[in-house]
Symmetry: C2
Subunit: 322 residues, 2 copies
């Protein structure tokens, strides 16, 4: 009986491989550096080898594998199984990765962008379980988004839906590399948090500075969070303001889509209660009553395995559509 | 063979009844004042009489009627066929209008809010034809919205999706009666257009003032549009600014949903090119490239009959779901 799934979570730094079973259980796992492969050909070869070693270690035949799911950091044509390009990994341009990998491994292959995969994982196995309309958002260098509408990933006309980070939250505001103005990402992306912190800190006493010295580290959202935990006012204000900006962006989405849940993941979301409280308060105060009452804003649950578990869900969903 | 449809378009001022045939052809039409009925009971009775007179005039039996579609100005539970309330019509509170009318006329009844019905009409028969993901927006005293996603009306968790008018376009901005701040409606609803015009006009020479005297009329978007057509600078600026605000709101929706088309209807949309140009330019300049390239921003096509034709589509869709 087919009951195993292969998951490949391609990130800018690491690429994770997993052998999984329903419901979302990771049986084997292997992580390599994304620089370990120089191009799609090498990726396919390495993937095949790792998949075969998974099967050998567990004494499983390929007949018991349902399929391969891939999450990857870039715009993807999930119908054609095509990687348009990766934002932070050179050497990938219009790569028919599904076809390449199917040839090598002879298993069904499904691919989608990492935020969609994370959202799907949280929907099936994590914080989004049990809701039919959820919004997934990842906070980090960039701000990504995925939409589950009526129980399915929503893609839009060019499979480019979900760009929550590029919804403007002001009429006028900082230019964003996407070409827009006042995009949410231009207020709450890691870089902007750091640069806002720098100007807030100027000439003031704050634990942020001592923690930087202590850890011999550059300013980062993580350092700001450390300072906030130790009750530093300036750090708390920076995180609070970040939460308000995110809350304004989410208010628009809440009134537009009337979702049941918003699942927030990614590095900055670890700044826990400081950001979450401000997000929740902003949405509860500003969204329309019925919308605000319904929506639950929750932290992603699956942590660093969200990608792998999302890949499993992607295979399941993909086979259903067929 | 069943081939006729009954459409009822309830508005704050007028209620329109139609007998229609596919594809969206209006065979008979009758308009009454919404004040002609004082409550849901009277509405049901009048509706039955008008429906029967339609059938009699055309020598049609009830057997050839597919069903009744109703569009109405308020939050509606379309699954239960329940009117929660009407914003501008007293006497309707949690009214099970589907059940009441079915009892009176013995035909399947489907009901939805007017913006959804308009959007569905434009999708099936008007400017939205041929696209699977469209956003409908109506400009008037309020700013309403409807979403067709994957070829179907999207409702969200409480059937309250589509509140485009209450998406914030600024972090800080005017309070909105909905409880929010800086909602799109608080910038481009009729009242706001008029009050912005008043302050722009102060102490300045503008054709707006002469047209108001000429027509012995109060200031309204229509008057401003008249002045713009006669090349009045201030009028053109007011409409341009309105278009920019709408464009910022739509940029967020375009990046989030990646729709194929945005269909704009309602009174203010008649201010044609002055507003449209600014909307288009703003979205083309600010939305992400792939999203901006794809989306077409078009004027609603069905005019005052959009409601009736949407009701026909509502019956069709409703029967499909069954």
């Amino acid at each position: 009986m087919k009951k195993y799934y292969i998951a490949i979570d391609i990130g800018a730094t690491n690429t994770k491989f997993g052998l999984l079973k329903m419901p979302g259980r990771i049986v084997s796992k292997k992580t390599i550096k994304t620089t370990d492969y120089k191009n799609p050909q090498e990726f396919s070869l390495i993937s095949r080898n790792i998949i075969y070693s998974f099967l050998k270690d567990r004494k499983i035949t390929k007949n018991s594998v349902v399929g391969i799911g891939i999450g990857a950091p870039g715009p993807i044509d999930n119908q054609k199984g095509l990687v348009h390009y990766f934002v932070n990994i050179p050497g990938w341009k219009e790569v028919p990765i599904r076809r390449m990998l199917m040839k090598k491994v002879k298993l069904p292959v499904f691919i989608d962008n990492d935020v969609n995969v994370m959202t799907l994982g949280e929907y099936k196995f994590g914080a989004g379980k049990g809701s039919k309309d959820i919004v997934g958002i990842t906070l980090g260098s960039g701000v990504g988004g995925g939409l589950i509408l009526n129980g399915k990933l929503f893609y839009g006309a060019n499979m480019a839906a979900g760009e929550i980070g590029h919804m403007p939250i002001n009429v006028n505001g900082p230019a964003c590399p996407c070409g827009g103005h006042a995009c949410l990402e231009a207020y709450v992306g890691n870089k902007r948090i750091v640069s806002r912190a720098k100007s807030e800190m100027q000439g003031k006493k704050t634990l942020i500075k001592s923690i930087m010295r202590e850890k011999n580290s550059r300013l980062s959202p993580k350092i700001i969070y450390e300072a906030a935990k130790r009750n530093d006012k300036i750090a708390k204000k920076i995180l609070h303001d970040t939460g308000v900006y995110i809350g304004v962006g989410l208010t628009g989405i809440v009134n537009l889509l009337n979702p049941e849940k918003i699942v927030i993941g990614g590095g900055v979301s670890n700044a826990g209660r400081f950001i979450f409280k401000a997000i929740e308060k902003t949405v509860k105060n500003r969204a329309m009553k019925i919308h605000a009452k319904t929506v639950k804003i929750v932290k992603a649950k699956l942590g660093e395995d969200a990608g792998l578990m999302g890949c499993l869900a992607l295979v399941e969903e993909g086979l259903k559509q067929k």
